[in-house]
């Protein structure tokens, strides 16, 4: 693979805190290697800002291998940028060429208030999990693991839903800022497994209710969430979520939680 360097113009959203007004600020970066990751390019910019005595751009990131779900940039109008099934940290600069302009924004959703610049508050997701995204089993209660066979296809589907990294790209991509893909991934993961059966009905109702309380929008079947999900979480999960929800409401057993 041929490596090269490039000069870029970056338009980055700057915002002091959740209460202040934000605006774009334009920067030039030089000699960016095509081998760098996108965040390493931001590192270069930040080092430059520090050396000029300015405040670097605040952004969330941690594992830089696409699994922790912390990185969260809206790049040229797309959550996590242009690569399919890829987090911001795994996007590499060989995507860009000399002279390109890149616009970088935070996730935009009222349920994800901006903390500073590109970092947002996603604790709403934690509260949705706390509302029911678990199986109630205390430590020490378990029987031998192989007492409970699970059909392979079923297990594989549960796993596919469980690979959600909770990054929030689905919310950022959705014009309604809906969290349905996130919620459906967890509901599906647990509803597909026999272990999840006892709490299946109340789980879905409680999680949806918390989702609404947090101020996420409604799902209107646009599908941007699936298209931008770095882990390829399928829209089928939303269909399953809807079935689970309706089933739970009709059976009347969702109340009495």
């Amino acid at each position: 693979m041929q490596h090269y360097t490039m000069n870029l113009t970056l338009k980055v959203w700057r915002q002091k805190n959740s209460k202040s007004q934000g605006a774009f600020e334009t920067f030039q970066v030089k000699d960016i290697s095509s081998e760098m990751s996108f965040l390493e390019m931001i590192d270069v910019l930040n080092e430059q800002l520090v050396s000029e005595g300015k405040e670097p751009i605040a952004f969330d990131h941690d594992c830089r291998e696409g699994i922790c779900g912390m990185c969260s940039m809206y790049i040229n109008g797309r959550a996590h940028g242009p690569w399919h099934e890829t987090t911001t940290c795994q996007l590499h600069m060989r995507e860009y060429k000399n002279g390109d302009t890149i616009v970088i924004e935070p996730w935009r959703a009222s349920a994800f208030p901006v903390i500073k610049d590109l970092a947002v508050d996603r604790t709403a997701f934690d509260r949705i999990i706390a509302a029911g995204g678990y199986i109630s089993v205390n430590t020490g209660n378990a029987v031998d693991a192989n007492c409970l066979p699970v059909e392979k296809q079923q297990a594989d589907d549960a796993f596919a839903a469980a690979t959600c990294i909770g990054c929030g790209a689905c919310v950022a991509a959705c014009p309604n800022a809906s969290a349905m893909l996130f919620v459906s991934a967890k509901v599906s993961h647990l509803a597909l497994l026999p272990q999840g059966e006892p709490e299946r009905k109340k789980r879905v109702v409680n999680m949806i209710s918390q989702m609404d309380t947090e101020g996420f929008g409604s799902c209107t079947n646009i599908g941007a969430c699936e298209a931008e999900c770095p882990k390829g979480i399928s829209l089928e999960n939303i269909a399953r979520l809807n079935r689970e929800y309706i089933g739970s409401m009709l059976s009347g057993s969702a109340t009495g939680v």
């Binding site: 520090v50 291998e65 970092a119 430590t139 378990a142 693991a145 192989n146 066979p149 796993f159």
Partner: protein, 658 residues
């Protein structure tokens, strides 16, 4: 101070049973008034916080990330070991115990390791009950694979995302307790000091990373589950935020640091591409189940790997270690890669890489698959296509990750890999109950030193983190807190809290007032280079002595010239990072001191002066069969305490994988 490891008396396989049967208990009413602080929410922290919450303790959990689900345990790929013997291949608790002791090059405690092997099976049960979607066979039962340093298949996995699935399981358990009100969660908080009162740990000072404010939190006990310190090398497979700060503050407050120089260099990582590199990415050890490692037989062979014929390739692990082949333990595989590259056989543009090749596995699986599908006469191209599908199912996400980072297709050309810092076996010294030398202060998971000796076997970190959190601390903490039921919550206006907060505040002010010229990042990079060059895969007396002086000088420069932009109040990641790098600048020196004092090679600690003629590590059991436990005595002053390792069951011998 004499170290008391508190290993229970009695035969090895009944120590833990007897301990559980005789340790003190706390009744449910008293649990409700006992407060426990858990710092870190990885596998150890999340499992401990959830379990203690379920038991009825009042728990406060802290993490620096925006959510507890992001702790770096999430990045573990390959799997988790357990002595289930589901494969009927001769596994047992004893074998897992023995493999771990041997894998650690006889520098771990028998009592701890046996307990770890005993509870390993419970972990799998617990995780399955939580809904962790482990890989399964067509019969619906759990699947296993092999990892390095073992000859059985005892590793449970969820594709290449095992850590993620286990952590999400523990995280969900934790959130359930948050909802129940037994756990209070503080994300985006960093612990910056331990508060001790009458010699006991009684709380912490934490900084709210969003507002920049300092907070005081009381606890009857404090659990540090804060992971390892591999980022002292700057480049490692750790997350960007992984740090030693909590453990280091505890160390400065009296907790001894055990075997700080024991570092794991993982053999299969994507090689460095340039100075811009911010972190390194692991390619799971599970790939060595099927990937074959090789370099060209001729020095400086610049042909494409696919153009080099079979007979001109050196499968050096298979050649040197026929019994274990590509599945030798990590330290052995890493040194062998370094040896080949140093000798001029490395590949790629940097020549600091070796090949990890799946071509023969693809063909092998393809043939099996063509027979399964009733196509014995399939063409070679069809066989390769079928083989690629099988490999994709096993390792697809890892292959994708490799392709994204390097821009190369590992199904077509071999991966290029090189060793990188991955894990630290050293950590806070703890006794059998996981308590540090400060009463009431515990260390769990990678943050402690206890179970892996001088080298950790693959798929054992997840096992240890969850063992400590789910199955050990729930018993051992009761043994301590049972004597504390009369201690009322101590108000945080107590002078000890005031003094601790003042200390933290002064440290932060000092950093902010330096107003120098060089960035935090640049100091971290320079420290990392010293550590990697002189305290990395190969170490020698001269280099270590130089490193100690260089680190001292770098630390001085840091405190004279670091530039931290922004303010103390508000969100300031540069300030967070500065505090962490300041602590690494102290830890690095201690690691070199420890490496210098240990005049032997064992596990991941390879002192070049101590090797056999064939390059294998030479231990000095008569002199160094002990845990080196260091007490902080003031800046750059550390006193060594030795905890001798007495092997009652295993007979230490020269570790051989040949």
């Amino acid at each position: 101070m004499a170290l008391n490891s508190k290993i229970p008396a009695g035969p090895l396989d009944s120590k833990w049973k007897n301990y559980k049967a005789t340790c003190k208990l706390v009744n449910p009413a008293n649990k409700r008034s006992l407060e426990v602080i858990v710092v870190g929410t990885g596998l150890a922290g999340a499992s401990a916080a959830a379990s203690l919450g379920e038991m009825g303790y009042k728990v406060k959990a802290f993490c620096f990330q925006d959510s507890p689900r992001r702790a770096h345990s999430i990045a573990a790929q390959g799997g988790i070991n357990a002595a289930k013997n589901y494969q009927n291949d001769g596994d047992s608790t004893y074998r897992l115990f023995y493999d771990t002791i041997k894998g650690g090059d006889y520098r771990a405690r028998e009592g701890n390791v046996h307990r770890l092997a005993e509870v390993s099976a419970n972990i799998i049960d617990q995780c399955v009950a939580q809904g962790v979607p482990f890989a399964r066979e067509y019969g619906g039962l759990l699947s296993n694979r092999s990892f390095g340093g073992t000859q059985v298949q005892r590793t449970f996995y969820a594709a290449g995302q095992t850590g993620q699935q286990l952590l999400i399981g523990a995280y969900q358990g934790l959130e359930r307790q948050v909802a129940a009100g037994t756990v209070q969660m503080y994300s985006r908080h960093e612990m910056l000091e331990v508060v001790t009162i009458d010699g006991k740990a009684r709380g912490i000072i934490a900084r709210n990373l969003v507002t920049g404010e300092l907070e005081r939190h009381f606890g009857h006990a404090v659990l540090l589950c804060t992971g390892g310190y591999g980022n002292v090398f700057y480049l490692s497979t750790n997350a960007m935020g992984s740090n030693v700060t909590a453990a280091w503050k505890a160390h400065r407050k009296g907790a001894f640091f055990g075997n700080p120089c024991f570092t794991q260099i993982h053999p299969t990582c994507i090689p460095v591409t340039g100075d811009h590199q911010s972190k390194l990415t692991l390619m799971s050890e599970s790939l060595r189940n099927d990937g074959r490692i090789w370099v060209p037989k001729a020095k400086g062979d610049n042909r494409k790997p696919t153009d080099i014929p079979e007979e001109e390739r050196d499968y050096y692990l298979e050649r040197r270690y026929p019994a274990f082949g590509n599945l030798v333990p990590r330290d052995v595989a890493s040194r062998a890669a370094k040896e080949r590259c140093d000798a001029g056989y490395g590949v790629g543009s940097s020549k600091m890489a070796v090949y990890l090749d799946f071509a023969s596995a693809i063909e092998r699986y393809g043939k099996v698959e063509s027979n399964k599908q009733g196509k014995p006469n399939a063409s070679k191209a069809e066989i390769i296509a079928m083989g690629k599908d099988v490999v994709k199912e096993k390792y697809g996400n890892l292959f994708d990750m490799y392709a994204k980072i390097t821009g190369e297709n590992p199904y077509e050309v071999p991966m290029r890999i090189y060793p990188a810092v991955h894990y630290t076996m050293g950590g806070l010294w703890v006794d059998y109950e996981l308590m540090t030398t400060v009463p009431g202060l515990y260390a769990l998971g990678e943050a402690n030193f206890s179970d892996h000796g001088a080298n950790r076997l693959g798929a054992s970190a997840l096992m240890q983190g969850l063992a400590d959190g789910y199955f050990v601390i729930p018993y051992t903490i009761g043994n301590y807190l049972a004597d504390d039921i009369r201690t009322k919550s101590i108000p945080t206006d107590h002078p000890a809290f005031v003094a601790a907060e003042k200390e933290v505040s002064e440290r932060i002010n000092r950093l902010m007032n330096i107003k120098g010229k060089q960035s935090v990042e640049s100091f971290h990079k320079r420290l990392g280079k010293i550590m990697w060059d002189k305290c990395g895969m190969g170490r020698n007396e001269k280099g270590l002595k130089e490193a100690i002086e260089e680190i001292k000088a770098l630390r001085k420069e840091f405190y004279a010239d670091v530039r931290i932009p922004g303010e103390i109040i508000g969100f300031n990641p540069e300030l967070d990072k500065a505090g962490r790098v300041a602590d690494f600048l102290e830890l690095g020196e201690l690691m070199c001191i420890d490496a210098l004092h240990r005049n032997e090679s064992c596990g991941g600690h390879f002192r070049e002066e101590y090797q056999e003629e064939d390059g294998e590590a030479r231990r000095q059991d008569d002199k160094y069969m002990y845990v080196a436990s260091w007490e902080f005595k003031g800046d750059s002053q550390y006193e060594l305490h030795k905890e001798s390792l007495d092997y009652e069951v295993v007979h230490p011998s020269t570790r051989s994988y040949k």
